[in-house]
């Protein structure tokens, strides 16, 4: 198929950017979206233009590196997939495709479609862990039985890949789904419960510092999340936060 692409080009963080038109032809439906961009880039290199910079790594939907806003949706029109798993069979010959970076104050553009998501790392460093040192003498893994539903729910929250589609999609650029997934995972497990109060307060504080917006429960994040992280995590975080700020020291 032949496609018209409108891609955000921006040479670096401080320079202004704009949408630029490109044309690609002979795209097969079996290609992934990123493979289509590979084709475009080979074409650009051939004609001595600078290829489009974009983040990508594992290309199997788990590393969370790829981050494109395609035709008005994070990771494109398909559900439950990252950009690298979006296949060209979802498009038709002659389509025009808009490709933009994830946009948020918390995710400044580095170049073209590449954004800086280190805000997520800083939120994690604020409390997204269990304070336990490496030790060959922690208690046996089976010492505390964990009800299967809790373990499963914690796992579901833990499958977040930190891609930032939630922020990109949210009309408020809120990072609540990301933060709540980690808060939830650890709050559901006995090992994480110990410092749950401190965790939720610190992580939310850092989240606010990073300039993300406030959640207004539109639910868009849950729909666009490639891993289907549930809104119930946000509710759990709200709950945790409420009780922590009433009963906690901070």
């Amino acid at each position: 198929m032949n496609l018209k692409l409108k891609i955000w080009r921006q040479p670096n963080a401080s320079a202004p950017g704009k949408m630029v038109d490109y044309q690609v032809s002979d795209i097969s439906g079996d290609m992934s979206f990123l493979e289509m961009i590979d084709v475009l880039n080979e074409q650009l290199i051939e004609t001595d233009e600078e290829p489009v910079a974009f983040d990508h790594d594992c290309r199997e939907g788990i590393c969370g590196m790829c981050s494109m806003y395609i035709n008005g949706e994070a990771h494109g029109p398909d559900r439950g997939v990252t950009t690298c798993q979006l296949h060209m069979r979802k498009f038709k010959d002659g389509d025009t495709i808009y490709i933009e970076p994830f946009r948020a104050k918390g995710f400044p553009v580095i170049k073209d479609l590449v954004v800086d998501r280190s805000a997520f790392d800083r939120i994690m460093a604020a409390g997204g862990f269990v304070s336990v040192n490496t030790s060959g003498n922690t208690m046996d893994a089976n010492a505390i039985p964990i009800p299967k539903p809790d373990a499963d729910e914690a796992f579901d929250a833990a499958t977040c890949i930190g891609c930032g589609a939630c922020v990109a999609t949210c009309k408020n650029s809120s990072a609540m789904l990301f933060v709540s997934a980690k808060v939830s995972q650890l709050a559901l497990l006995p090992q994480g419960k110990v410092e749950a109060k401190q965790r939720v307060l610190s992580m939310v504080e850092q989240m606010d510092k990073e300039g993300f917006g406030n959640c207004s429960n539109t639910g868009a994040c849950e729909v666009e999340c490639p891993k289907g992280i549930s809104l119930s995590n946000i509710a759990r975080m709200n709950r945790e936060y409420l009780s922590a700020s009433i009963t906690g020291d901070k």
Partner: protein, 667 residues
């Protein structure tokens, strides 16, 4: 030869590690604060090492080329992690895990290292649970296990098909905690481009800030390379696009020996190649072989009919199907080790029984598992005389709970519903057992330079068993390196900060800059990917699943020619002082072009078939591998001397004191 001292501690196998730990030199806590350690790579090995070292009090600088440590490719490991917990009471033990790993590795790994790995495996699970890793559990609240290829016990801990992700996020959490405390300084989007040696010791690295293009000097008292494997030398592999050999290759060129480079693992269950545009291959977890049965049609006419779409797989009658693994290896069936399963698939496809248009695919069929689970579930739910539809429905629910994400991934990529029709799979490059040679302390032949995880060669011999990579990465990072590195650093407590103004840093930086300038000014006509794809074809055809002397010689010639062409004609757009992915790739492919030749040379030198290394000249009439223990029970460690094709070979003899070498049989 003298340089290859494996430093295996004295004493009986089971006591070596304990004795060693008890007698090793330590650094006291106050002094640890004065010591810097660089860790390159933040996957399971690098991430866990960085976190543990920082917890001990060392000042750690961690580097990754991705935008966050959480994205290292360990994240993509699906199936699980082995540990000799024997929770299932099925006869597992440290010794059995050790034995299985040595046997699975086709008797080409070091006994002492592997025993230590098995010994600390249980601690890993304890540690990860304490960190909040949500492993799969049973209804009683205890941890669940599953079985993996090459073993007869259930010792694999898992978190659905995302075990690597969960373990990596655990290590990343531990790192995050230390980053927050300021004990780890994290350098995201940085790539190590040179090792700096001062007085014969590793004392720092030169790294490029991938956003600004700035070339930076970083000093430390020790350098840990945990940058993963080199499977991307094949261009198409299950590795991430960015996975590369550069860090390993740089230290190799500075004096670290490269061990067993030809030992690469071809994973049997990947989604087949669909066309020339393909940029990477996707793995379907080995855990699927627990429930999936692998087959091709018995009759050529059925193969033709399937290829042309005249028949669907389910139209082929049971008696006309060749479940070739069950036929050839009745004891292990579909759960034979990866190398065996891969070769068997290749054998069938080469014989003309491949089931897709390219002739390079076999079926992985879940219909019997769906029925079996369906009947079980019907019985549990007390449904009398369920219809076959009902049974299949119930069975699909069970399969979905177990492998849902894998099935979904398959469907997204292939556009085929694996609940209804068998998956098509074919082997693909997955893991590299070879890597930087290290001693028992994980130190390379460069003093103060360590290698951990897939980057080193140590534990998997010629073939890695499923769910052992995660185990090794975390064992190295959490439980081995933090002890052993102290032994070396105890001599450095009075050294003080290493200055980056030393002439050695200047020189290393200069060489990095020269190379970058070369790429920017070369003005060739072909893109980096053009050369990478060509290299990949040579490697896959001649140094892939089956190798022979003639092909390997041809590969060496072809790679040398390709390398010359690369340096003449490669084209790198953009600028050096900006975010420039093409420049990054150029440096990596340049290193692959040298490594590829060394792999071919190593394969050519090893005149036997063992594990992932299958030489067509050395096989039985039935096509089984023939090992030559008399001549090749050694680790091939290669020293760089300016030309990868003429590297010096050193041999570390492997002594088996606790295990009798046997022909590996899974029949």
């Amino acid at each position: 030869m003298s340089k290859l001292n494996s430093r295996i501690p004295e004493g009986p196998l089971a006591e070596k590690w304990t004795n060693h730990k008890s007698h090793i030199n330590l650094v006291n806590p106050a002094n640890k604060r004065l010591i810097d350690i660089i860790v390159v790579g933040t996957g399971l090995a690098g991430g866990s090492a960085a976190a543990s070292l920082a917890e001990l009090g060392y000042k750690v600088k961690a580097f990754c080329f991705q935008d966050s440590p959480r994205r290292a490719h360990s994240i993509a490991a699906q199936g699980g992690i082995n540990a000799a917990k024997n929770y299932q009471n099925d006869g597992d033990s440290t010794y059995r895990l050790f034995y299985d790993t040595i046997k699975g590795g086709d008797y080409r790994s070091r006994e002492a290292n592997v025993y230590r790995l098995a010994e600390v495996s249980a601690n890993i699970i304890d540690q990860c649970v304490a960190q909040g890793v949500p492993f799969a559990r049973e209804y009683g609240g205890l941890l669940d296990n599953r079985s993996f290829g090459g073993v007869q016990v259930s010792r694999t801990f898992y978190a659905k098909g995302q075990t690597g992700q969960q373990l990596l996020l655990g290590a990343y959490s531990a790192m995050s905690r230390q980053i927050g405390k300021g004990n780890i300084q994290m350098f995201n989007r940085h790539e190590m481009l040179e090792l700096v040696m001062v007085d014969g010791k590793a004392r720092g690295i030169i790294a490029r800030n991938l956003i600004t293009g700035e070339i930076e000097r970083h000093s430390a008292h020790a350098v840990v390379i945990a940058s993963g494997g080199y499977g991307n030398v094949f261009y198409l592999s299950t590795n991430a696009m960015g996975s590369n050999v550069t860090a390993s290759w740089k230290i190799h060129k500075k004096g670290a020996y490269f061990a067993n480079p030809c030992f690469t693992q071809i994973h049997p269950t990947c989604i087949p190649v669909s066309g020339d545009h393909q940029s990477k291959l996707t793995l379907m977890s080995e855990s699927l072989r627990n429930d999936g049965r692998i087959w091709v049609p018995k009759k050529k006419e059925d193969v033709e009919a399937i290829r042309s779409g005249k028949l669907r797989p389910r139209d082929i009658k049971e008696e006309d199907r060749d479940y070739y693994l069950e036929r050839r290896y009745p004891a292990f069936g579909n759960l034979v080790p990866r190398d065996v399963a891969s070769r068997a698939a290749k054998e069938r496809c080469d014989a003309g029984y491949g089931v897709n248009a390219t002739g390079e695919a076999v079926f992985l069929d879940f219909s019997s598992a769906i029925e079996r689970y369906g009947r079980e579930k019907a019985a549990v739910e007390k449904i009398d005389n369920p219809s076959i539809e009902k049974i299949r429905d119930l069975g699909k629910q069970v399969i979905e709970a177990k492998y849902g994400n894998l099935f979904q991934m398959y469907e997204k990529i292939v556009d085929d519903n694996p609940y209804e029709t068998p998956m098509k799979i074919y082997p693909a490059v997955h893991y590299t057992m070879g890597g930087i040679w290290v001693d028992y302390n994980l130190m390379t032949t460069i003093p103060g330079c360590y290698a951990a995880g897939e980057a080193n060669f140590s534990d998997h011999g010629a073939n890695r068993l499923g769910a052992s990579a995660l185990m090794q990465g975390l064992a190295d990072g959490y439980f081995v390196l933090p002890y052993t590195i102290g032994d070396y650093l105890s001599n450095d407590i009075r050294t003080g900060k290493i200055s980056t103004d030393l002439p050695e840093f200047e020189e290393a930086e200069k060489s990095v800059r020269e190379r970058i300038d070369f790429f920017m000014n070369n003005k060739g006509s072909k893109s980096v990917d053009h050369f990478h794809k060509k290299l990949g074809k040579i490697m896959w055809n001649e140094v892939g699943m089956a190798r022979n002397a003639e092909g390997l010689k041809k590969a060496i010639d072809d790679i040398r020619a390709l390398r010359d062409e690369f340096w003449k004609d490669v084209k790198v757009p953009g600028t050096a002082n900006s975010f420039n992915p093409e420049l990054e790739k150029a440096g990596r492919v340049a290193d692959f072009l040298e490594l590829g030749e060394l792999m071919a040379l190593d394969a050519l030198t090893r005149n036997e078939s063992c594990g992932g290394h299958f030489r067509e000249e050395f096989q039985t009439e039935e096509g089984e591998a023939v090992r030559d223990d008399a001549h090749f029970t050694y680790v091939a460690a290669w020293e760089y001397n300016g030309d990868p094709g003429k590297a010096n070979l050193y041999k570390e003899e492997l002594k088996y004191e606790n295990i009798e070498l046997k022909t590996r049989s899974y029949k």
